[in-house]
């Protein structure tokens, strides 16, 4: 019997969480984890799923490979706990480590990801947010064209649009994850949107105005 992810985490809640550790802030958890690795488990449990999906969205790796990368991400994070900047959100920090580890893994395979593994609804989120379309369901007919448009975006635009429209991160968080100034992030999003609109018009998904 296949157990849903949410059920799995509910059934297997570790001891630390039953003690109310989930109520602590991430910064407090980081401080606790420095003294005892068992305390790090709460952070892993909280972020393993979002990190898994984030890596899948920005890469073309199989689930098994992504799980290995997720493990590597948390080991790196554990080693670097003393370097964690309290001015950052822990989520931004762990996303940054995940992004860098994924890019390293992609480089090891000597290739940039030509396609990413975005679900249909995620593709539509990017497309609709870029084009300001109101009727998302109407676009489902042209899904293959949408996939082609998003897949063919240069990687630097695609990753920033995934963070903004799929991961729902704000500018500050994207800035911290990518380590790029706010103006650069805004420019990447704006240029990415323009590219999507241009290609959508070419593919007759949007009308010229």
């Amino acid at each position: 019997m296949k157990i849903a992810v949410a059920d799995y985490f509910t059934i297997n809640l570790p001891f630390c969480m039953n003690q109310g550790m989930f109520k602590s802030s991430d910064s407090e958890l980081v401080e606790l984890a420095k003294t005892n690795p068992d305390n790090f488990e709460a952070l892993v449990l909280k972020y393993q799923q979002p990190i898994f999906y984030y890596i899948r969205r920005i890469s073309y790796f199989s689930s098994e490979d992504i799980e290995d990368i997720v493990q590597e991400v948390f080991i790196k994070a554990y080693k670097g706990l003393n370097g964690f900047d309290q001015n950052l959100k822990f989520s931004s920090w762990i996303y940054r480590i995940a992004r860098n580890t994924t890019i390293d893994a992609i480089r090891k395979k000597h290739a940039r990801p030509l396609t990413t593994q975005l679900e249909d609804d995620e593709l539509l989120k990017i497309f609709v947010s870029s084009t300001d379309l109101e009727n998302e369901t109407a676009m489902k007919d042209g899904l293959e064209k949408v996939r082609k448009i998003v897949d063919e975006l240069p990687y630097k635009y695609k990753e920033v649009m995934i963070l903004k429209f799929v991961e729902q991160k704000n500018y500050e968080e994207i800035m911290d994850i990518l380590k790029k100034p706010k103006g650069t992030v805004a420019a990447l999003i704006s240029r990415g949107r323009k590219m999507v609109i241009k290609e959508a018009k070419k593919s007759y998904l949007l009308l010229d105005q």
Binding site: K2, V5, Y8, F9, N12, P14, A33, K34, P37, D38, F40, E41, V44, L45, Q48, Q49, F52, Y53, S63, E67, V70, Q71, F74, I75, Y78, K79, G80, L81, N82, G83, D85, N87, M175, D176, K179, K180, P181, K182, G183
Partner: protein, 262 residues
Amino acid sequence: MEKDVSKKVIDKIKKEHIEPDPAWKTNLSSYVFWLWLSLLVFLSVMFLSLVIHNFAVLDGDILRQLHLGRFVGFVFMSAPYFWLVLFALCFVFGYLVFRRTKSGYRYSLVLVLAMFLFVIFSLGALAHYAKMGARLEREVSNKVPHLHKVAPLAKKRLSNPEKGVLGGEIRILNSSEIQLKSFVGENWTVHYSEKTVLRGTHELQKGIEVIIFGKNVEKRVFDADVIKATKANEKLRPRMEGRKPNSRQFRMKRRIEPEGKN
């Protein structure tokens, strides 16, 4: 994600006795960047003080003499390009290194540039007023043998008779003629008259360094319109224009004058 990796992560940490790296180790790259940044700011300040020192020779007297158009041309001709390029390189690398520090990416381009310009120009101006530019130029030209080929001394660049500017040291002085050894080592005869304007000094003396504005009339012969004592002489002979010399200056004047009147 179907598998819970938390157990694997914690087991690996325990099994391999992995511990959080000490703070100094995780922050090492940050310290290295700050060290680089400090070094580049220091170098930028030093090169800027050299640039200011080189431009400071072009003071108001030269502007008045050459008029604006010619003055601007003269500035371009005599600009210390070697130091300017080094300053620009250090400035740009400093900016890039700042961006690579732990939170350097968080600041806007305008803010970072404004901050950099303010800090470097303030320190550069202070270094110039502390005479570091002049000292540095002297030290560097003494210690680096062929540097003068790419970075001529400030006063040497001011010696350009074809453009109507000649600089050098007065070797022989008489009532209408100066024998001058130019900053580039050439011997020149300079004619002057009552109409010639003196600046920076109230009288000409043997041994002082001057910049002469006028006309190159023939080979190694120059007609002077304005003769200006350079700032290098100010320590030996303070300016007397418009004020009475104090006793110390008076003693210095007395000591210099007998040699000066040939």
